[in-house]
Symmetry: C2
Subunit: 405 residues, 2 copies
């Protein structure tokens, strides 16, 4: 695949701070791809681990394994072993054996309990994972561990991604400064509820497991669960977060830490949308005035997932009638005569009718931008939600009609 | 628009039988298009009328008007006045006045009560309908009424359709023979629950209004509500059915009549999928073994609406992993280890794993067909449902990124 880098990509991979207590390594294990890295290892000296996962009924063996380990996690040294090229999904009992094989090899190479090894796999569904290749790479991965290896790790987990994704934050608290650094992969199948996305976030903050999990779940709901590329949902979505405590700073009950975490999650989530397969425009859909937040989310996702809305955006067509259509089909409470629609600052429709001062010319000029904001006010209540999507272009068809991802 | 005829189109418009008690006329009223007809009139000497409509919360003024008239229908002479080019949706009070204007003009021209004039409009959303042009055309439409005008009527209601759609059936009953003839338009926004589709079905059978409505609702659920092109739902979907009784044959309680009606509905529904925007393949998704019929329908629609499944089909890629993904995201009860997937007669996966005798070559050869059957057995219960869709191609993007429909 000689895929061009998304036109919406950031200029460069960001400088991520070193997180005390975490080291990374990457390798080319030959899972499926040739001539590139496809396995990353992150080793945590001592950490609290939390996570969120796909809700798919056909979720993969590694997801199920992480979920069961997460439920009984008690802290201590840990490792994340992630591969690209093969998702180990719909591989039956053979898939469970592959996960067990990788965990056993990592536990042995690193001197950890198997229960503290968390794995993810991303790539083709339904083919047996050649897990021995990953197991055999583990001793040399251990020997190559490096606190500065996070960018290479971000590259090793890419599949159809056109750029590696990273984000970070520093939070100054009375007790000292804590750092957050995260990496992600994902470019298609990004909705609802996370979808083909792998996300690994590390912090040197000190925080209890239950509080970390609550924070991660809440922040995921407002970030990764509010983005969509094509409405499809992966069998492998995984977000793992590790807090090493190496800074010695306790962040329990600190809203500034939760806010910084949300910025990091949202930055990574928007990078995933920016790398949406074939995307040429980043679209923010702001829904207000809904009967409830759930209704606002529903309307936002109906708009963000509508092929007719997404193709109109690709064609730079200010086709607001398709927004009306999507509101109507969403299932949310709506009243035609109270609906207002804006493209950026341009009021297109209001009180159930085209705005009297609507200028097709101004709206068309706005649609030529690379980043768009669509505002929808339902005029009914106080429910609000913002979701993000991209346009639907020939590039999406190119990538997905010909590539066995 | 110089759109090529869909490769899935029937060879020709079928010969439809004349239905006693119905006459048709078409005209070029200049609603939006140039150089083609855009209004059809059907006049019923005396008829029972039933219908089904979009569930959109932003449904159009003509849909709301039909629904309110349908609720108090008492039979007698009636007329259908349908235009293409403008859907009169999201046009506020002006839209209601347009419907009233057309109904008044038709009532006057035809000597009918306004409550027996049913209108539909299809085309661009959010622009005021120039209804006076339709009203002015009504006297000459009345003068041109012809029992054989049904094919021209089918052409007048087309928007992005690449071919006119018609279907018919004859049913021999102990009391005599009855005929059914129907026409439809639709090519995108076809799900769930009918979507941009206008359907008009006529029969010379005699049947009571309540029974006709029950039959139409039940048959719509198994036909028009089981097709999808792009998961989007129109604000204008309308199916109107008129029974003139001109044959003198009572069909109340006759299962043969209901079965024939279902064949006509299904034929028209599949023609709509065959004309799906950019479609090159017709896909039947047969779901069995679900916990309930609702679950089977849910799984079928998740597969039929998945952009990743539909692009894989466009690329003739036997990517069954994407079927697994769609089952998983559907929300239906599923057990990975009981799932079986077939492409035609080829068992691809069974018991949660790739079939031992699976041949990628055979599956790839099958995918080259123009008409495909995907079988999914959930292995849980007796729920079954069949839905129909088409592939997602560059043609869909071409049509929808550049055309203000």
């Amino acid at each position: 695949m000689a895929t061009k880098i998304s036109p919406l990509a950031p200029a460069a991979f960001p400088d991520l701070p070193v997180i005390g207590g975490v080291r990374f390594a990457s390798a080319a294990a030959g899972v499926r791809y040739k001539g590139r890295t496809d396995v990353m290892l992150a080793v945590l000296e001592n950490a609290t681990v939390a996570g969120t996962f796909t809700r798919s009924a056909t979720r993969s063996a590694p997801v199920r394994d992480c979920q069961s380990k997460m439920a009984q996690d008690e802290g201590g040294p840990a490792a994340f072993v992630i591969n690209s090229g093969n998702s180990n999904a719909f591989t039956g009992r053979v898939g469970e054996e592959a996960v067990a094989g990788i965990c056993a090899a990592a536990a042995q190479a690193l001197g950890l309990p198997e229960g503290r090894v968390f794995t993810s796999s991303t790539g083709v569904i339904g083919e047996p994972l050649p897990w021995e290749r990953i197991a055999e790479a583990l001793p040399s991965l251990r020997d190559a561990l490096d606190a500065g290896g996070i960018e290479a790790a971000a590259r090793a987990i890419m599949t159809t991604d056109t750029f590696p994704k990273g984000a970070s934050a520093e939070v100054r608290l009375p007790g000292g400064t804590v750092r957050i650094a995260g990496i992600a992969k994902g470019s298609g199948m990004i909705a609802p509820d996370m979808a083909t996305m792998l996300v690994y976030v590390f912090t040197d903050a000190r925080i209890g497991r239950a509080e970390l999990q609550d924070m991660v779940s809440a922040v995921t709901d407002r970030t990764f669960n509010r983005i969509t590329v094509d409405s499809d949902t992966s069998t492998s979505d995984t977000l793992l977060m590790a807090a090493t405590g190496a800074s010695g700073v306790d962040v329990g009950g600190e809203p500034a830490f939760a806010a910084a975490l949300e910025r990091v999650f949202l930055d990574l989530a928007l990078q995933v949308v920016r790398d949406g397969e074939g995307a040429t425009k980043l679209v923010e859909v702001r829904v207000t005035g809904a009967a409830s937040e759930a209704d606002a989310h529903r309307v936002g996702m109906a708009i963000a997932n509508s092929p007719l809305v997404k193709t109109a955006i690709a064609g730079e067509d200010a086709n607001w009638g398709r927004i009306v259509m999507a509101v109507g089909k969403s299932g949310a409470e709506a009243d035609r005569d109270r609906l207002a629609i804006r493209f950026g600052d341009i009021t297109v429709a209001r009180d159930g009718f085209r705005a009297p001062d609507y200028s097709e010319e101004a709206a068309s000029a706005y649609m030529k931008r690379q980043e768009l904001v669509i505002g929808v006010d339902l005029g009914i209540g106080d429910g609000a939600a913002t979701v993000w999507t991209c346009d639907l272009t020939h590039g999406y068809i190119d990538i997905n009609a010909d590539y066995r991802s």
